[in-house]
């Protein structure tokens, strides 16, 4: 099993190796795809094994993979596969058009692979200090992707991203210190006192006051990476300025990695402090994010910013679900994590296709996509419906579960508020995307050279939408068991 865990992390490094060996966009891109597929296959095998076995531990707790990590590993490797296909299409088109130099393309694949690999490593460590180190390192790798195009706007977005996230993660480190301090009374070695399974097992004897502070600081700190309001301000800029496949990775993989860290702290905090305080914290930040996300989606403009604010909204929904708690809340939160990741990856990859064809990121300048480019337009329409939670897609099911979890609680006010906000989000988001899809328009020039690049662009859209459809109609028994077993870890 250890070999599988290692394979998951080194798989995405195939792209960087190809880029260092001076491959051009196509070769480096296909190497990334192959590496990501190896990672995904290993993650699925690992999760299938973990469901029936004890968690994988090793190296004094620095390696720790349980079912919860396995679930997030599947999500992130899945997104990496989709984004790697998208990268082949996007980067080879940009290289052919001369928008990006070969050097920039190589840098892209180096940092894309490093970014994926560091995120996957952070999901596999039980040591909360190492978790901080890896999350901060993945911030740096992804910041390089955001600033890749080197224009004033993208550099500014990258700067904002790296400085806000670094400060945020530093706050999370302070939280980790206080957690370590809360365990002073335990007779464990210093390594063990920072290792999640030990802390979770001994949660009952942790000092409550430092633990309370530790949880709050961790939510604020890692919440900066998740994009919880009011720490979300870097998110729309970074998502709008990064190359589209990198935006997909940010929105669908990085935000979830931050949420994974919060869930680890939540588990310890709930075991010691009871559910009251942690849930109140998550509900506050969650609702703030949903409100902020929805309000900014009303404004029409850059469609990548629209998708980014939708990510703020959905991360808020996941935090609210964790705050509602209970079986339904946790189930909904995990299922929504997977669904949102796939849907948002599809939308951002589709936005890459649109911006390659129209050379704009303004929604008002795109018309008649469905008639002009049926594949792109269809994927945008279906992806929007999916991300807004319409049946029969998976997000309908997970949002329904979350709202039911809310009604199972004491007061119906919060779930009703959530439903109202979801309705506003539907109108605001659909208004912009239907405007882009409908109408008459001339066909824009085709940016791709060769059939392979065109297929590489279309495959992830189709694969993502089919997966969302399947998840909306039927949850495979294996996935169901994995989610239920993950909930037992929290």
């Amino acid at each position: 099993m250890t070999a599988l865990a290692i394979l998951i992390v080194i798989g995405p490094l195939a792209g960087p190796i190809a880029a260092v060996l001076r491959a051009r966009a196509r070769a480096a891109g296909w190497a990334s795809v192959a590496g990501a597929l190896v990672s995904l296959a290993s993650a699925i095998t690992l999760l299938a094994t973990l469901v029936h076995h004890a968690p994988l531990t090793g190296w004094a707790g620095f390696l720790y993979v349980d079912v919860l990590s396995g679930f997030f590993l599947i999500t992130v490797t899945g997104v990496t596969v989709l984004a790697a296909f998208g990268s082949v299409a996007y980067l080879s088109a940009e290289e052919d058009a001369g928008t990006l130099t070969t050097f920039q393309v190589r840098l892209y694949f180096i940092f894309f692979g490093l970014f994926a690999s560091l995120m996957l490593a952070s999901l596999q460590t039980g040591n909360l200090g190492l978790l901080f180190v890896l999350v901060e390192a993945s911030t740096l790798a992804s910041a390089a992707l955001v600033g890749l195009e080197g224009r004033a706007r993208s550099l500014e977005a990258a700067w904002k991203y790296v400085i806000i996230s670094s400060l945020g993660v530093t706050i999370a480190l302070v939280g980790t210190l206080f957690l370590f301090y809360a365990g002073s009374a335990l007779h464990l070695t210093s390594n063990e006192r920072l290792t999640w399974p030990y802390l979770f097992a001994h949660a009952a004897v942790l000092a409550p006051q430092p633990l309370r502070l530790a949880f709050l600081l961790a939510v604020v700190g890692y919440g900066t990476k998740v994009g919880l309001a009011p720490m979300h301000t870097w998110l729309p800029d970074a998502h709008a300025e990064a190359p589209s496949p990198a935006s997909a990775m940010l929105s669908a993989a990085l935000l979830n990695t931050g949420m994974y860290a919060i869930i680890r702290f939540l588990a310890i905090a709930q075991a010691r402090l009871g559910t009251g305080f942690p849930r109140a914290v998550l509900l506050t930040f969650g609702f703030a994010s949903v409100v902020i996300g929805v309000l900014f989606m009303v404004r029409r403009g850059n469609f990548k910013r629209l998708f980014a604010y939708s990510s703020v909204e959905h991360m808020g929904i996941i935090a609210v679900a964790l705050g509602f708690g209970g079986v339904l809340g946790l189930y909904g939160a995990l299922l929504h994590t997977l669904n949102h990741a796939i849907a948002k990856a599809v939308l951002f990859l589709d936005s890459g296709d649109v911006s390659l064809r129209y050379r704009t990121r303004e929604a008002a300048q795109v018309r008649g996509l469905l008639a002009a480019v049926p594949v792109t337009g269809g994927a945008l329409l279906l992806g929007s419906l999916a991300v807004l939670g319409s049946p029969p897609f998976g997000l309908f099911l997970s949002e329904l579960t979350i709202v039911r979890a809310g009604f199972a609680g004491s007061s119906p006010v919060l779930p009703l508020l959530l439903l109202a906000l979801l309705a506003v989000a539907f109108i605001a988001f659909a208004r912009t995307t239907t405007g882009m899809v409908t109408g008459e328009a001339a066909t824009p020039p085709d940016p791709y050279r060769g059939r392979a690049a065109r297929w590489a662009g279309a495959i992830p859209l189709a694969a993502g939408l089919v997966t969302l459809l399947v998840l909306g109609l039927w949850i495979p028994a294996g996935l169901n068991t994995a989610i239920l077993r993950s909930m037992a870890m929290i």
Partner: protein, 224 residues
């Protein structure tokens, strides 16, 4: 865990280092020259490495000795030298004019944040008579002052220094509160900071160049 008492020689030295580090953070907040930002940060890191040395000597910990050496080499010497060479000289940065809040107001806000750190941290958490009881509020105050510097200064170099000061505050808390933090983690944090500074240097010089080009373009547009 072994505890440092506040009255031992090592405890007094650690307390003193904490106070000096706080004062240097204030000095940075009260300054307007990029050169001084870097100088104060360098001095702060040297004091921090001294504090790490004191902790290493008290706990007889080889890992902490290595950390003290790394702090001196990377934060005390490496980062200030690289920042001066690659940024301040090459981009001819002198006086910071992108200040959002006046210096005296900033210092008053800094004082308020320090008082806040004492009020929040001290009574809640820590046993009395232990050195950590004095140093943890100090380190919290340094983190908050670093964050304040990032908020009130708009220039990228000032924000970078603000982040590094906050990081120093975390490190000060780490060596006194939990002297036995695993070495791999501490080393990883160092690696992150070094990589972070490098990537930020690239962004800073990129942004400054773009701004310079933009302003000269404006000048050309107004000619005639």
């Amino acid at each position: 865990m072994e505890k440092l008492s506040a009255t031992s020689a090592a405890g007094i030295l650690l307390d003193l280092s904490g106070v000096v580090i706080l004062l240097l953070a204030f000095a940075c907040l009260g300054s307007k020259l990029f050169n001084r930002y870097v100088a104060y940060y360098g001095a702060q890191s040297v004091v921090l490495s001294f504090a790490a040395g004191v902790a290493a000597w008290t706990f007889h910990s080889p890992a902490l000795w290595i950390l003290a050496g790394l702090t001196l080499a990377i934060k005390g010497i490496g980062i200030p030298v690289v920042t001066r060479r690659l940024l301040l000289r090459r981009l001819a940065l002198g006086r910071d004019s992108a200040i959002w809040l006046g210096l005296s107001t900033t210092l008053i806000a800094g004082g308020a944040l320090t008082a806040f750190a004492y009020l929040v941290i001290r009574p809640q958490l820590l046993p009395h008579g232990v050195v950590a009881a004095a140093v943890v509020p100090l380190s919290t105050a340094v983190i908050l002052l670093g964050a304040l510097e990032m908020v009130v200064r708009r220039h990228t170099v000032a924000q970078l220094i603000g982040w590094l000061i906050a990081e120093n505050g975390v490190f000060l808390g780490a060596i006194t509160l939990v002297a036995t933090f695993p070495f791999i983690v501490e080393a990883g944090i160092f690696l992150d900071i070094a990589a972070g500074v490098l990537i930020m240097l690239v962004f800073v010089s990129g942004i400054t160049r773009q701004l310079a080009e933009a302003s000269t373009a404006e000048l050309r547009g107004l000619r005639g």
